[in-house]
């Protein structure tokens, strides 16, 4: 089973997070710890999920928290290229309606 790796790229006020693997109960704390402390001065947060095969509700909690943080600074959170299962999880939970998705 694949674990989670995170790469980050910051350009001015845009932070892009490239995640690869699974964001589940085990790996969500790592995801949170990599992203949340890096948001100072960021108004556009891009979560590149092209290589994320799986997310569970633990990941949704963190995504919602990040979305609120971006909302506080009138910023935007974008999920880029979600895979099939990830799209489906976001859809049935109504997250597709409140997030910006970039195909």
């Amino acid at each position: 089973m694949d674990e989670l790796t995170i790469k980050k790229q910051k350009e001015h006020d845009v932070l892009t997070v490239f995640a690869e693997g699974r964001i589940d109960t085990d790996t969500t704390p790592k995801f949170d710890a990599e992203v949340s402390p890096s948001l100072d001065g960021i108004t556009k947060l891009v979560l590149d999920f092209e290589k994320v095969s799986y997310i569970s509700s633990s990941a949704l909690r963190v995504i919602l928290k990040l979305q609120r943080k971006m909302g506080e600074v009138n910023g935007r959170l974008i999920i880029r290229k979600p895979t099939d299962l990830v799209t489906e999880v976001l859809e049935v939970t109504g997250f597709l309606d409140i997030l910006n998705i970039e195909k």
Binding site: M1, D24, T25, D26, S53, Y54, S56, S57, S58, L60, R61, L64, Q67, R68, G71, D84, L85, E88, V89, V92, T93, G94, F95, D97, I98
Partner: protein, 142 residues
């Protein structure tokens, strides 16, 4: 197809999640379960197992028994979770309102909701001091 039956008894602790998922995957892979279906089942298994690990025995500890049966043509997987922790029917809670804006979103209940959405059927009963949750899913691309 051949009937596949298996059982795992494991400490109800979130750190055991990988072991539980591997146990489920092995059997799904043995019958050539489509990848997306497998991921959906993993999701349901994770949500239920983590729920039991978090609440059933808190603040103490205990075990959970996980039974799997795969049978039929096309195959159906039946996964049963049995714990003897505090009585709790996860299906009794209301579904979260998935139409609210982010600021008003409540995050509770999403795990169970995802379980129901990703499995064909989920049922619960309390018998002989045990919480028994059974879920089923047809192992074809849907």
């Amino acid at each position: 197809m051949k009937l596949i039956k298996n059982e795992l008894e494991i400490e109800a602790e979130a750190v055991k999640l990988r072991t539980v998922i591997s146990f489920i995957d092995e059997q799904l892979e043995a019958v050539g379960c489509p990848m997306k279906t497998q991921l959906q089942i993993e999701l349901a298994v994770e949500e239920i197992f983590v729920n039991i690990a978090s609440y059933a025995y808190a603040p103490g500890t205990g075990t959970v028994q996980i039974k799997t049966v795969i049978s039929g043509e096309p195959p159906v997987a039946e996964i049963t979770f049995i714990d003897h922790g505090v009585r709790y029917d996860p299906l009794s809670r209301d579904d979260p309102n998935v139409k609210l804006p982010p600021s008003e979103r409540k995050i509770g209940g999403l795990g169970i909701f995802l379980t129901k959405k990703n499995m064909d059927n989920v049922s619960y009963e309390y018998r002989d001091g045990c919480n028994i949750l059974v879920m089923r899913k047809l192992l074809i691309n849907q």
